[in-house]
Symmetry: C2
Subunit: 355 residues, 2 copies
Amino acid sequence: MLKPGARIGILGGGQLGRMLALDAARLGFDVHIFTPEDNSPAARVAAACTVAPYDDVDAVARFAAGVDVVTYEFENVPVETAKAAAQHAPLRPGVKALEVCQDRVTEKRFVNDAGIETTPWLAVASAQEAAGAVTALGVPSILKTRRLGYDGKGQQVIRNAGEAAAAFDALGGVPCILEAFAPFTREVSVVAARSADGQVAAYPLAENRHEGGILRTSIAPAPGADALAGEALRIASAILQGLDYVGVLAVELFVLEDGRLWVNEIAPRVHNTGHWTMDACAVSQFEQHVRAVAGWPLGNPAAHSAARMDNLIGDDVMRWQALASEPGVCLHLYGKGDAREGRKMGHVNRLSPLA
Amino acid sequence: MLKPGARIGILGGGQLGRMLALDAARLGFDVHIFTPEDNSPAARVAAACTVAPYDDVDAVARFAAGVDVVTYEFENVPVETAKAAAQHAPLRPGVKALEVCQDRVTEKRFVNDAGIETTPWLAVASAQEAAGAVTALGVPSILKTRRLGYDGKGQQVIRNAGEAAAAFDALGGVPCILEAFAPFTREVSVVAARSADGQVAAYPLAENRHEGGILRTSIAPAPGADALAGEALRIASAILQGLDYVGVLAVELFVLEDGRLWVNEIAPRVHNTGHWTMDACAVSQFEQHVRAVAGWPLGNPAAHSAARMDNLIGDDVMRWQALASEPGVCLHLYGKGDAREGRKMGHVNRLSPLA
């Protein structure tokens, strides 16, 4: 167990790093951020910050040598960066989680190998393979780059078979995955943690609504989802164990009409669909992650309130004045200056008594 | 209303500044700390820190010129420092609150002039006056330095009249106040806020237990205290208005057998007896203070849970491992290295459903 006063290094300086840093501070830890970005949201609440590119492995090594544990706040930290850090401090979660989750094909294969269902999928390495895959899986289906997609970026919906080759080219001709359209009735996610000694704790499920590929709203605990909790926990536990994971991760799940759960995506980090825990649980996902990577026992993931989380995306944040005046809103702003379209600027939680 | 991204300057770098900084960050503000102390708890979570003595008014002026509002986290900020800051940025709360609350005699006079009861008291400027005052007010009574006392420091309990002169000398021969022993049944406190436009909001009362002059435990909402809430709000409102106050303050109250409330002490700042709000209210006292000084509307001070707050004083913090393992404990550590006797190192909140 890391003692209070120990230093936690975080690769990444965005809002997730910021919220991790705030909760780490609450537990008495000092935070050191590593980010290529000047004046990042996380650096402004941290005890120390190294600004350097991720491929500056010397800087990464110095950073890791100066902290007691290294974690990361996003899944596209280069594996080489993570490996360089891991030579100088415990890296939690480990390199494997990045290797698996940075590639949609590797991730799907890992999930299926663990006996967990996903939508049918095929790896696609050429325009020709794209056409063949669409023939095999049908339309509508979704062509995604294997790597580096987020918030709906790097995706093309294919509505008829003739579009396959063009979609592949539109994504830059890079290795892709074709995913059959999942016949889901709703999307939920499970945010779960695994401690260094293998204990697992899952928050109540959140029901999630996306717009334009970006999370808009989470409702938690997900209404009428009690029957899904056991299966979701089984899935999350299998993934956590399979990745030998330490920390918080999120699993996005499709709920099918018959109640089956298909894994949509794994995020090996704290997750936007867990932001509701900041105000509705005694232990937020951020504290939970800090506890896990510090080798502490996990906190109780029970909710004391129900919550609706709404993201403030781009110009939404201009409504801060009205939101600040609304009784009962818990407002979270990320300290980003530039409210670009599609950029996550903050979120609000609205609490209500548990049903 | 200060926009998110604005800079909030805080005079003082202790745990109250740290918790203010964390909640200011959550609302999207940048925090700049001014403190004489190297590597202070607050500086390690702030975007910027100036380390300089309080009497370096040039440093204070530069600090204030670089922020959008200045506030303070403790009541013994020198008035000259506060005045220097106020020339370059709005100072909230203002100088008057410091002038009144830094001197126990001035404070008692202010409270009584507002039509609010306190224990009987007399100003004492010499050993001879001390003896006379004890004769007038009886024993037991408490001799306190007018200035710079906290956590039971700068006080002498007088149990028989003959001790008066010696007690005065033991306190260094400085100007003092003699307070009659208040025949209270319990101590409660009201933590209340006033916004820039004069709106007032008070948290539910906390019941407080001290040991050796140091707060040990707060229970909130104070059990069986519903009947006191109205009078406590009236008292807090009168004080807030009389000080033309913007921000959070705390009023410690003695509850007499007949239900009357006597003001014990005013703290013109966020307060240890309000730490329970961090986990039991949607808006903590720290967020509330930031809202007020930023010119925002106040948040809802209602509690969603009941709480018991226990301070971790000195060696108590060595129990962090057991506390971290106790389900349902909300642990707050201040990042102080040296667990000296009597030093506030952290606190824990334990939540339960509202009665």
